[in-house]
Subunit: 412 residues, 2 copies
Amino acid sequence: MPILVMKFGGTSVATLDRIRRAAKRVGREVANGYDVIVIVSAMAGETNKLVELVEETSHLYDAREYDAVVSSGEAVTAGLMALTLQEMDVPARSWQGWQVPLVTNSAHASARIEEIGTQHITAKFAEGMKVAVVAGFQGISPEGRITTLGRGGSDTTAVAFAAAFAAERCDIYTDVDGVYTTDPRVCDKARKLDRIAFEEMLELASLGAKVLQTRSVELAMKYKVRLRVLSSFEEQTDEAGTLVCDEEDVMEANAVAGVAYSKEEAKVTLVSVADRPGVSAAIFGPLAEAGVNVDMIVQNISEEGRTDMTFSCPVGQVARAAMAMNAAKDRGEINFHGLIADNEVAKVSIVGIGMRSHAGVAAKMFKALSDENINIKVITTSEIKISVLIERKYMELAVQALHDAFELHKAG
Amino acid sequence: MPILVMKFGGTSVATLDRIRRAAKRVGREVANGYDVIVIVSAMAGETNKLVELVEETSHLYDAREYDAVVSSGEAVTAGLMALTLQEMDVPARSWQGWQVPLVTNSAHASARIEEIGTQHITAKFAEGMKVAVVAGFQGISPEGRITTLGRGGSDTTAVAFAAAFAAERCDIYTDVDGVYTTDPRVCDKARKLDRIAFEEMLELASLGAKVLQTRSVELAMKYKVRLRVLSSFEEQTDEAGTLVCDEEDVMEANAVAGVAYSKEEAKVTLVSVADRPGVSAAIFGPLAEAGVNVDMIVQNISEEGRTDMTFSCPVGQVARAAMAMNAAKDRGEINFHGLIADNEVAKVSIVGIGMRSHAGVAAKMFKALSDENINIKVITTSEIKISVLIERKYMELAVQALHDAFELHKAG
């Protein structure tokens, strides 16, 4: 039998009614001839409740105990889903991560999957079981302790199972009906994409489109898992949702697939840094040690032997960044005249594998922003992405202008 | 290091505050020089919530999935208790049943403990860990699935750990401060016992005193585990609570240790049963098959070749009993003239190992009841117990009269 992986997120299993609705979808795929592996999250709100209990108990908590506590929500949903399927006469049983086993490394609270044992579930399929319900987000460490994969880890669980079992497809059921050209709340012309390439999805995911967790997309790309994102709240046809797939399978020819944005950005400039070989390492080493997630980096030569160094990071990390820089200055590792932080910026990006073959994409982007009198503060580019830092108050305007300029409301 | 087992029930870990209070008690025992194994229940209300979810999902549910779901409450408490102890600088970690492992048979939802692996926890104690926090009520089947031990299973878990680790004592922290001569709500002269013999506790537990689960007492008796019942809501001295121990260690010389009662009893009489060899089997076989818990049995010869057969069972099972009897009559397996059910009865019992050596205990009991004009409907006796069935409205009066007659308000 071909195998299908179906993943249901927290809102899709938030009540017994919704679990029943999800189970019906699973039943339909069984009727279609699939052996199904269902990955479930905890019922919406449950994991947060457990995290709060842990945090209220202990500030610097032992991540191993944190994992033991917060993994319990998924175990509950898995059992309830198996029971619901059995009620519908679909042969099903539940597995917790350690029972599969889904083996991870020992990085508790953000563990990485190392191996999925397929033997046990495969044997049950051979005996006539039709659905294996697996608790998402959790695994077992080499020491035999429960681990969790970090936020959104159930997406990663689903993709990893699809890879391990060579599933025909991995369907991610969520509360949106697919991947959009941009956030519909910001731009009402946003259009659902039928298909998107792994690389594009990866850029969009890491730029803040919250449909899929970045790691799950990376994993899908690596193992060529066809990933479909679709809504658990609408009746589905075969062409529903968005298929995340290989570049070759994306039919659309638009140069740009989508516009992403991120609000909580800050721009930090070290003014007049004494320039010498190794100065970049002297700056970004201490920032990394201080846990500052540096995103964009720009260096301008301002005068002979001195340079302005600008970088962006999340707003909440500016104070930490300033502290690290001043400490490095005090230790004599770097020398600069001043530090300027601008907390009122946002990042807007266009993403598309078509950029590779389309000339003039950057020029078109800058013109669209300039036509709206939006000043660009920092630019970075990758092969399939162009990001700009702008004043935050222009963010929505910029997204709409770019969506129009690249005609994303039209299918390519 | 000597090992102590401490068990905290649901009300003793109902909130983070109460978990902290329980953890403080554990910390004191660590300071006293013990390595401690803590057995925890789910936070009060959690297990019921999970059971409701399962029952709402499925009427004839798969007990294996039921176990997977309802066992999660204990896992949460175990992790939180370990974190709380760590916050107090007490080296601790949590174990779930399958991690220990606590191996049970495969009778899901009411599994029996078969073996407790001591190696893993013992090794951790040797490394300097002071407290092993174990999720009560749960184990793992030979098939690798999670099992639960049935209601009150955490008491049994605690006693089994005390036996497996040869613990010095097993302290059961609960919401009452010990075992009483009778229910203080029924008799205000009820006195807390300092000590009680296993056999007596067993009779009291099976007669409805809800302090300890019957199986846990059986297990403690079998493995000579010194069991102490005490309140988690009061400051404790060394002599607090009630010690359940070997007969030889019970100092008190009262013939009777306590008075127990059970309200939900019914008396069923099969009138004029045709008597022949094997008639008892013909009656009680079908009752057992119908799931009727027959308690007391009395047979009177009423006339030549016929007999009246009387038995007691829980009120809720009378209809089922009548159905089973009429069906057996229809099948020609038994013959009787009528079936009379009396739903307005209660059982009152006196229990005490002293009965063995004290003559006249039964006579004293019957006189005390007769002095109050209480009519005895059925009597049964065992070596250390005498039970009578009486009209339910006299129950409280009977308990008080017996408590007085045997002077249970005085220590023996």
